[in-house]
Amino acid sequence: MLKVTVQAKTGLHARPASQIVNVANQYKSDIFLEFEGNRFNCKSILSLMSSKIAHGDKVVISATGQDSTLAEQKICDIITSFVE
């Protein structure tokens, strides 16, 4: 599990959400973002866009599967790279 603060000013809209989905689909693990007691599937664009995750929100990335550690790190990197 990794914690990350979302910097993106406009939250997880189409552009960042689709990049997360793209990266997440490269891993075998199931990958979720946990926020305010809810889990959002990193492999589903509608799930991520419905999360209402906004600028400044702290989220937890959790993955389960063979490549879970790599997957979590990669998703964390993607999220921290979004600033606009």
């Binding site: 406009t10 189409a14 589903s44 509608l46 866009m49 419905s50 209402k52 906004a54």
Partner: protein, 152 residues
């Protein structure tokens, strides 16, 4: 009802010109990163449900609506390019998450004259994010409610 109806077709959510995905002026959509679909260059700002479905997502800035049919086909309607930056100004969304809508129900009214100069494009991608394959109608101009694609 003891059987569920399979969604065989989608109907245009907007009046306008049909634009193939690869011609959308934004690589996030034209690369089909989010999935395949089509786009419409809107003639006006009235957006209607393309099929009977449930509203599963209304983005906070009102420019994107996610829908799901009874047979789990997911459709994302994303009005315009970079419209997230408008922060809902010019967007009057008529539905809420969890609502069930019928084909042709009004989802969103956009003041396109107000937003036209503020965004790179009004071209509206409509994406089948659940990945079902389809055949697009060979049309240039389309009216809302007209058949736009058939699932195969």
């Amino acid at each position: 009802m003891l059987f569920s109806k399979k969604t065989k077709e989608l109907y245009a959510p907007l009046d306008g010109d049909l634009v193939p995905m690869i011609d959308i002026p934004d690589s996030v959509f034209s690369s089909k990163m989010m999935g395949d679909g089509f786009a419409i260059k809107p003639a006006n700002g009235m957006v209607y449900a393309p099929a009977d479905c449930e509203v599963v997502m209304v983005f906070e800035t009102s420019h994107a609506i996610g829908l799901k049919t009874k047979d789990n086909i997911e459709i994302l309607i994303h009005f315009g390019i970079d419209t997230v930056k408008l922060n809902s100004v010019g967007f009057d969304v008529k539905v809420e998450e969890g609502m069930k809508v019928k084909k042709g129900d009004l989802l969103l009214v956009v003041d396109i004259d107000q937003i036209r100069d503020k965004v790179p494009s009004l071209i509206t991608p409509i994406i089948i994010t659940s990945g079902e394959k389809f055949i697009l109608e060979e049309k240039f101009k389309i009216k809302n409610g007209e058949k736009v694609l058939s699932f195969i």
